[in-house]
Point group: C2
Chain length 455, copies 2
């Protein structure tokens, strides 16, 4: 009997034709005009799962549907749930594409199309891997493929569905099949993403803007008040100076610091990607530590008075700021929001109205990167890439990782096969052809390694 | 022979009809569609001056014309130049007017119309006073009425004209016939207005905005840098903390502080007019001192990142502020701009691009409020109002006062007859009927008093 790898060898061309077919369905979830395409993509994915030998269904929600594919390997086998999404971002600005966005185009060793990297490659490679395993002697794990059509519009209906069907979706491990590798030929296991607390600060001194000559010097200026508050958020060295902010921050383990110090993190490439900004942050931590395991506070927006061209002698009556914190274990976003409110309230001058509104709160997600899933995935990656995967985090916020952790299992990992600079959400999105193939092989190996780990 | 006062008694009705006529010409200088009306107003004013017995001419400029009226009293008599303007602001928003803006409407003891207070009442009362003096035995001073049609659009062509015709406009005293009294029945001599230095600060960290999750904590945030700079502009007590800012500030004389302390300045009314803002400023000074004789620094505008509704997790690449200082003697706006630039430059973090652009520089104007013009005006006011005028300043900036002082004579005073809250530049602009009449009588008396002061 053939191996999954041999099956992939012989069927790769057909899998890539599937990819082209899925790419050609413009499943743009944010655009109501494309709701029919999103539905068509869901139907196609479910049908493709059935062809692979999975038990598949399209699950309606109040938004775009979910697609669920299952394989039952028996109660003794471990269960793996794989998440991916079949919806895509709009292709605008269309004029910047060098090939039609919804036509899978080969450019050297890469595929170029909207959704090539984010996230239709994952949809195809996950189904292909399952098929390769099933057709070559069975799939030794219970597999649940849970693909959504609303990732690009906030995953509104995913979490309620998972919560309501937690028993049915009971699993030992979750792989989030989205995101990217650390670098070419450096496969990655992402085990953490930061949480978020997002607030808006509004400073009001009076009911209306004033003439700066007739009032300047005799009434408070809300832009000054706001600037003083923002300045107070950090000490002179760049540490967050909100009282209690670091109280619950877990120390970075020496082992992790050592591992990350040896990553060969390319600071110069990071700096270039940041538009040439200098690299600066909390003292005593490296750039990857600052991004992945240390919290931060940033102003996201600032406004007061006249902001058009030229000058206007206005003394503003209000100033506003949007401020967000990225959070790490064990910071609680609700507590951080309260600390921010207290910090600001203590700095409101008498007679000046300073209000803080909480906008968004997301808990950080950090898995223990040493359990059976991470062990199995590391072996699978090494078998395909010839190197151990790096265990890294991501500075952004991934609410579904928190939800899966809390509703299903703490054994969650993010496995991405796109590469840095993939133009996700931008024109000329791309993924190497070889990464689809390697992704299939990694997943097929993962099933066996997970089965070997047992329940 | 009748006195000027008796002449005003018998001709008041006719003078007020003149006022209605001038009001009816919509001389909106900012609106090219009304350029013909501005010209028509200039022609009417010149003709009206001629009827009063003055030698009048319309002087073309590259913008709207000036109107010049002269009376020659001989080389031994002192010369008085009176400035006013015959152009007006637009009447928008039209829907908020309770009567047609370009129709002089009597409302109780007030006239209501666009230009009633700013500044057509002055045009009429100045010409009427000259006529009353001329028709009742002569005008004992050389009088130059210099009325412009571009005050509401920046007086672009006035200063170059005055500079080019300084010999022809040589004068001992200048009265600026614009502005308002300190309070009803409290006539005012304004002897100072603050100068200005206006800059824009631009902070850039990189070439483009970044995702706050992917970069937050590892690159500097320009909004933080800008807030720190703005905060550094003041000490905790509200004094300007720009190095050298107060170096050239003249001390407020004890006599002036005493006089102003006895003014009965209505802080509560000021606070109401400020939309309920609390009153706060440089420690050790009263509200009128803070407004009239102390410098200040205010942010006029502030922008960075995302400022729309809701949230966006953007790490901005730039932050900008507009900042202006109101200046008092002997601060030099060019030096202040340099101090601001130095102050900001010293606070620019390494690798962050911080630029300061100078926008506008105006010197403060402060006359010595004790010379012959102020003595004569005080007697004239007291003769009409029964009380001595208060000698006050204005916190705004009046570039023409500086120009007259430097090009013609340091003996400059602002004499206003509108009242506080006159809705200048707003709907339902008004002036008491009695203030036009009193203005005529004050000016007619001023001629005699100035003649008595001699050259």
């Amino acid at each position: 009997m053939a191996t999954p790898d041999a099956y992939i060898d012989t069927h790769l061309q057909s899998f890539l034709e599937d990819f082209a077919h899925l790419i050609a369905i413009p499943s743009i979830s944010t655009d109501p005009d494309h709701a029919g395409d999103v539905r068509a993509a869901a139907d196609w994915v479910a049908e493709r799962m059935r062809r692979a030998g999975l038990d598949a269904s399209v699950v309606d929600t109040d938004g775009h549907p979910l697609v669920l594919g299952r394989h039952d390997a028996g109660a003794d086998a471990p269960t793996l749930l794989v998440y991916a999404h079949y919806d895509v971002q709009p292709a605008d600005p269309l004029g910047e594409w060098r090939s039609p966005p919804f036509e899978l185009t080969r450019d050297g060793g890469n595929f170029v199309a909207r959704g090539a990297a984010d996230d239709k490659a994952q949809v195809i490679l996950q189904i292909s891997a399952a098929e390769a395993a099933l057709r070559t002697g069975g799939l030794p794990v219970n597999l649940i493929l849970l693909f959504e059509g609303e990732e690009e519009v906030g995953s509104t209906h995913l979490t309620p569905y998972v919560a309501a069907h937690a028993a049915e979706l009971a699993t030992d491990h979750v792989v989030i099949g989205d995101s990217m590798m650390f670098a070419p030929d450096r496969p990655s296991l992402i085990f953490g993403t930061r949480g978020m607390a997002y607030i808006e600060i509004d400073v009001r001194t009076g009911s209306h803007d004033l003439h700066s000559g007739q009032y300047g010097g005799a009434v408070p200026n809300p832009a000054h008040v706001l600037s003083r508050i923002i300045t107070s958020f950090h000490d002179a060295d760049g540490r967050v100076a909100v009282e209690g902010f670091y109280d619950d921050v877990r120390d970075v383990s020496p082992a992790l610091r050592k591992a990350w110090a040896e990553l060969g993190y390319d600071e110069e490439a990071f700096r270039r990607s940041a538009g040439g900004a200098p690299l600066r942050g909390e003292p005593g931590f490296s750039t990857p530590e600052r991004l992945w395991i240390r919290p931060c506070l940033d102003v996201n927006g600032l406004i007061s008075g006249y902001t058009g061209p030229g000058k206007k002698t206005v003394l503003p009556a209000r100033a506003g700021a949007k401020v967000s914190c990225r959070l790490v274990p064990d910071q609680d976003p609700e507590r951080i929001t309260e600390l921010l409110k207290d910090h600001v309230a203590r700095r409101a001058p008498a007679g000046v109205e300073v209000t803080v509104t909480g906008f968004q709160e997301n808990r950080p997600w950090y898995a223990e990167p040493e359990g059976p899933l991470f062990r199995a995935a590391a072996v699978a990656y090494e078998g395909v890439y010839g190197v151990q995967p790096v265990r890294v985090c991501h500075g952004g916020t991934l609410p579904i990782a928190v939800d899966f952790s809390e509703l299903l299992t703490p054994s969650v990992a993010v496995m991405g096969f796109a590469l840095p600079g993939a133009n996700m959400h931008a024109p000329n999105e791309w993924i190497p052809v070889s990464q689809l193939e390697r992704g299939m092989r990694v997943m097929a190996r993962l099933y066996g390694e997970l089965a070997a780990e047992g329940r």
